[in-house]
Amino acid sequence: SFQSSDFLFKFLVIGNAGTGKSCLLHQFIEKKFKDDSNHTIGVEFGSKIVNVGGKYVKLQIWDTAGQERFRSVTRSYYRGAAGALLVYDITSRETYNALTNWLTDARMLASQNIVIILCGNKKDLDADREVTFLEASRFAQENELMFLETSALTGENVEEAFVQCARKILNKIESGELDPERMGSGIQYGDAALRQLRSPRRAQAQSAQECGC
């Protein structure tokens, strides 16, 4: 179904292998858990339009491979990302310990103002927990990250993670902290916003062209 949007944000999903990155994306888009999922080789994609405080934002999501070996490939996808979900698995301390490396990469290679939300995934497996909410939340504060514990299985906090990240970016645009027109901001005006900027006659032609995209 066609829905025009005010903005387009490029989002990344990053984190170690097996933390549930693709499942989070699938749950966000399809509203169900993918229980026969493959591992991602390289990168996969998703897109969805979300309503954030009355504005329609189209998220263009890059879901990257988690294995360390692919880092040199996935690094090239960071450029121009406006937001990122940094994912670890609450039942695996190893995936939590790797966060610093992921964070360094994201801050260095994506846009400087990239908004990152830390997601402690597999919240439904509380019995096997190896990372407490408290320590992760402290890590998030120290590194200026937003933080949620999510479950791709039940869907808990999945939509929230994407939407909160998008909201923070919108706030930054409104406060002037982020300039969508700056190169590499990871933000583009959506078709709705572009229509307002153009003269009415051209706008009509444009909307006819864009329908069905």
Binding site: G18, D36, N38, H39, V43, E44, C213
Partner: protein, 401 residues
């Protein structure tokens, strides 16, 4: 009118029976309802209306019979085609077994064999042909496989007991790295062809897949386990015995293109992508321009295709046919296949923007028409200004130095 529709017949009546006698065809109950008489407590149907209903009923029956006949003809045609296909597979098996395989060295490059090869190798000889075509440059023996497997098992045991350092040529890799890689193998096996349910924990080939990947990390600690390998090993396991699958696996990964990718040699990978783009522009200039305009770079879709040799992105039977010709033609066929896919979907892709192209190519439709697919690949010319794939690649590698 209303009563007529809902009213149920109280006694069997002649018009319906008459019609039934004339037809050897049992109509669906709902279509027959129209013929029922009204219940006894209501006035009977006027003759005119009854006549009209009979006519309508007969028309319906004629239509239904026509449909049935058509379907029967379709089924018959399908059956004939299947028989023909099975015959030709049967003949092909004989040709492969009796003529080609015994004379492999002299026959493998003949025109006739190459043509038969393109049609797809019959599953019963597929493994043998793959093994012969991939070869065994590395001279791996079954004994060597057993040794590598034994070492892998030793490592798993020592790691599970708390991880004493294992000495050897892989001493440069930390215990943590090795453990991570072993953990990842376990994780990925459960995520390899999950819908087949044969490689997962408890499935018949779970241990085989685990063994081959483990043995490989001992055979080539410098390469180790890289995601994508589990798909390649799985496809080989489906067609070969374990030790032969290991031999084919190791030799296949040792080919220049596979080594470049599995070592994630980014520079060399970019050279492959650049060579691919030369043939992309040559074969599909319009789509090439559209991709350029939308910043769709080849790595976005090629990485998954090349790392798994299409086994993750294509239906398994099609992937095996791609493997068949890949074994015949080498790496260039992987890139030709990619161009075949782009050509097959050129019209829809030209209408899409970046995100839709990226989504489409990283998740291809599940119902790819196999004949059209191979026709599309066949139409791709791997020649650019008189230069073949290998020459273009060599030139680009030279340029980068």
């Amino acid at each position: 009118e209303d009563e007529e529709k809902t009213g149920r017949p109280h006694r069997p009546l002649s018009p319906k029976q008459n019609v039934r006698k004339n037809l050897d065809f049992e109509p669906l109950s709902t279509t027959a309802l129209i013929l029922e008489d009204r219940p006894a407590n209501l006035p009977a149907k006027p003759a005119e209306e009854a006549q009209k209903h009979r006519q309508q009923y007969e028309e319906m029956v004629v239509q239904a019979k026509k449909r049935e006949l058509k379907e029967a003809q379709k089924r018959k045609k399908q059956l004939e085609e299947r028989c023909k296909l099975e015959d030709s597979i049967g003949n092909a098996v004989l040709t492969w077994n009796n003529e080609i395989l015994p004379n492999w060295e002299t026959m493998c490059c003949s025109r006739k064999v190459r043509e038969l090869w393109w049609q797809g190798i019959p599953p019963s000889v597929r493994g043998k042909v793959w093994s012969l075509a991939i070869g065994n440059e590395l001279n791996i023996t079954h004994e060597l496989y057993d040794i590598c497997l034994a070492r892998a098992k030793e490592k798993w045991r020592s790691l599970s007991m708390g991880g004493a350092e294992v000495e050897g040529e892989d001493a440069g890799f930390s215990a943590a790295d090795r453990e991570a890689s072993l953990e990842l193998i376990k994780l990925d096996i459960s995520r390899t062809f999950p819908s087949l349910c044969i490689f997962q924990q408890g499935g018949p080939y779970h241990d085989t897949l685990h063994s081959i990947l483990g043995a490989y990390t001992c055979y080539r600690p410098d390469v180790g386990y890289v995601q994508g390998m589990s798909f390649i090993a799985a496809v080989l396991i489906l067609n070969l015995d374990t030790a032969d699958a290991f031999i084919a696996f190791s030799n296949l990964l040792n080919k220049p293109c596979q080594m470049a990718f599995f070592r994630v040699d980014h520079g060399l990978m970019l050279t492959y992508f650049a060579a691919f783009e030369v043939f992309f522009e040559e074969n599909l200039p319009k789509l090439f321009a559209h991709f350029k305009k939308n910043n769709v770079t080849p790595d976005i879709y090629l990485i998954d295709w090349i790392f798994t040799l299409y086994s993750k992105s294509l239906p398994l039977d099609l992937a095996c046919r791609v493997w068949d010709v890949f074994c015949r033609d080498g790496e260039e066929f992987l890139f030709r296949t990619a161009l075949g896919i782009l050509k097959l979907f050129e019209d829809v892709l030209t209408k899409m923007d970046f995100i839709h192209i990226a989504q489409f190519l990283t998740k291809l439709p599940e119902d790819l028409p196999s004949e059209e697919f191979f026709t599309s690949i066949a139409a791709i010319q791997m020649q650019s200004r008189n230069k073949k794939w290998a020459q273009v690649k060599r030139m680009l590698i030279f340029d980068n130095k």
